[in-house]
Amino acid sequence: MKGISEGAPVGKVNLVHTISQKLGPLLGLLILFVIVSVLNPSFLEPLNILNLLRQVAINALIAFGMTFVILTGGIDLSVGAILALSSSLMAGMIVSGVDPILAILIGCVLGALMGVVNGLLITKGKMAPFIATLATMTILRGLTLVYTEGNPITGLGDHYLFQLFGRGYFLGIPVPAVTMILTFVVLYILLHKTPFGRKTYAIGGNEKAALISGIKVPNVKVMIYALSGLLSALAGAILTSRLNSAQPTAGTSYELDAIAAVVLGGTSLSGGKGRIFGTLIGALIIGTLNNGLNLLGVSSFYQMVVKGIVIIIAVLLDRKKAA
């Protein structure tokens, strides 16, 4: 009962299996929550939880797109670079007088286009996703530096909606968290309730068979890389608003955090198996780790060690369960 079976489970075994599948990562998150809040009770304060949600939003958005990519058996290393370039382009537009909301929209479209380039290299160019997105990562990072000349772009003014986008609250919840949740709902439906989602799984599960079954594999793939680019750009917009500026080096190694979130959420790197809800939990695990280790005052050296070990334990537990 791995995979996408969202329907009614059949039989007891399946039920238990489904629950443990769904709860696996969630359980990990809960354990982490308990540990951190016992060690430092201020972790559970409402403000901190809101902070946590806001901090998680950027990684979660990128990881959502990465989930689709990984489900097809691909990988996208260029997400951080897309974030940086589209953030710079947005900031550049805003500084030159474009309405900030329009700038964000254009930026997201540009992000999606960068994703399309990835998709075309992979489908038309028949390049391995790893190497194609590694190359575009390098190129886009270079272009960002060329465009910004290595300097942050500032002076974005104080457009209210724009500031709200990264820093505001909506019904008491940070706007980035609201964006993340809305995006999650939309993508959940897309992945689990529409033919597009089924095709995503089908490509990752057996690409040849998908092709024979009449699925337009290249089109679907291009769309998925575009989605990944779009979401990276959206995350870039949030970051731009949060920092009230664009940083040329923003998003460095975000791809690794996003991939870690996807894998912690139980999605298989070989494609065809996994769920986007898991990714949300995975992103929360990583966010809780970062936030918690800071709260506990763990030195940044040991933080890395702890993070690596937690990833290994979480993945090993997940494997055990599956076996």
């Binding site: 201020s42 901190n48 902070n51 300097n151 500032t154 920092l243 500026s245 970062n290």
Partner: protein, 286 residues
């Protein structure tokens, strides 16, 4: 043998009328070093010198390669802004081997013959920041520290200077790395405020992190004094608008300019000082 084979050595240049400078810079992803480079280029242009620039992207090994490549291009004087003072030594020695004078910028070289070091004193800057906090908030104020990239020399020196004073006169309750990065400055500061609600001040190892911290402080509604380091344009603006308290301003353009001037003197055979200081100044609103 430690020497390249003779058949491979470049022929020595006799005529040094048109001086060609080689500038190896540690990274150009940081406004500070961009300004430093601009300072070099501007001064060199006004003196009619040619400059070749290479960027090590913060990788010590790449920097050694870069320096070799500059030597290969036949530069007459090397201006090196080391990523690390220990790691650059062998590159300086290779330059010494072929008799190319070396001037280092911002950081020194541990070994090898260096004509001059043009730098502002990072350790001193850290001390200045701590002293300023003591004078503004009094002794034993609760303070946090945002550290730079773990292991980077600026992190070590600024931190060391800061602690020289702070360990006696301030109460540093938390220190965390935010990698010289504005985004991380923001999230790490959010978490630090959460863990230590009574923080009164924060010292960030650079302005980027300081500016990130300010965003975190603003949204927390607390009143926390922020001191940065570098004095880049954003930070000066933030200080003028009252969002940031102060920054230990370096003058990267000046470092670049002084280095070129020193190079000119070396080329003309003049004697120069071993250490050419570029003054630091604490920028505050007034």
């Amino acid at each position: 043998s430690m020497q390249p084979p003779t058949w491979a050595k470049p022929s020595n240049k006799e005529n040094i009328k048109d001086i060609k400078l080689g500038l190896s810079i540690s990274t150009l992803n940081n406004p500070f070093f961009v300004s430093l480079k601009d300072g070099v280029l501007k001064e060199a242009k006004s003196l009619g010198m040619e400059v070749k620039v290479v960027d090590a992207q913060n990788d010590s090994a790449k920097q050694i390669n870069d320096v070799e490549d500059l030597i290969q291009q036949g530069v007459d004087i090397l201006l090196i802004n080391p990523t690390d003072s220990a790691a650059i030594s062998t590159a300086v020695q290779s330059a010494n081997n072929v008799n190319i004078p070396v001037i280092t910028l911002d950081r020194s070289a541990d070994k090898g013959k260096v004509e001059a070091l043009v730098a502002s004193d990072n350790m001193k800057g850290g001390e200045m920041a701590a002293e300023y906090l003591v004078s503004k908030l009094g002794e034993n104020s609760v303070t946090a520290e945002l550290e730079g990239v773990p292991g980077a020399s600026a992190t070590r020196e600024r931190g060391k200077g800061f602690h020289n004073i702070a360990d006696q006169k301030l109460n540093v309750v938390a220190k965390q790395s935010a990698d010289f990065d504005r985004t991380k400055g923001l999230t790490v500061m959010e978490n630090l405020i959460q863990a230590n609600p009574d923080i009164k001040a924060v010292f960030a190892h650079n302005d980027e992190m300081a500016l990130g911290a300010i965003e975190a402080i603003n949204s927390s509604g607390k009143d926390i004094m922020v001191i940065g380091f570098d004095g880049n344009e954003d930070a000066i603006n933030a200080i003028e608008s009252g969002k940031m308290e102060a920054t230990v301003a370096q003058q990267p353009e000046l470092i670049g300019k002084l280095a070129v001037d020193a190079a000119k003197d070396v080329a003309q055979g003049k004697k120069i000082k071993k250490v050419i200081p570029a003054p630091l100044k604490l920028v505050t609103k007034d």
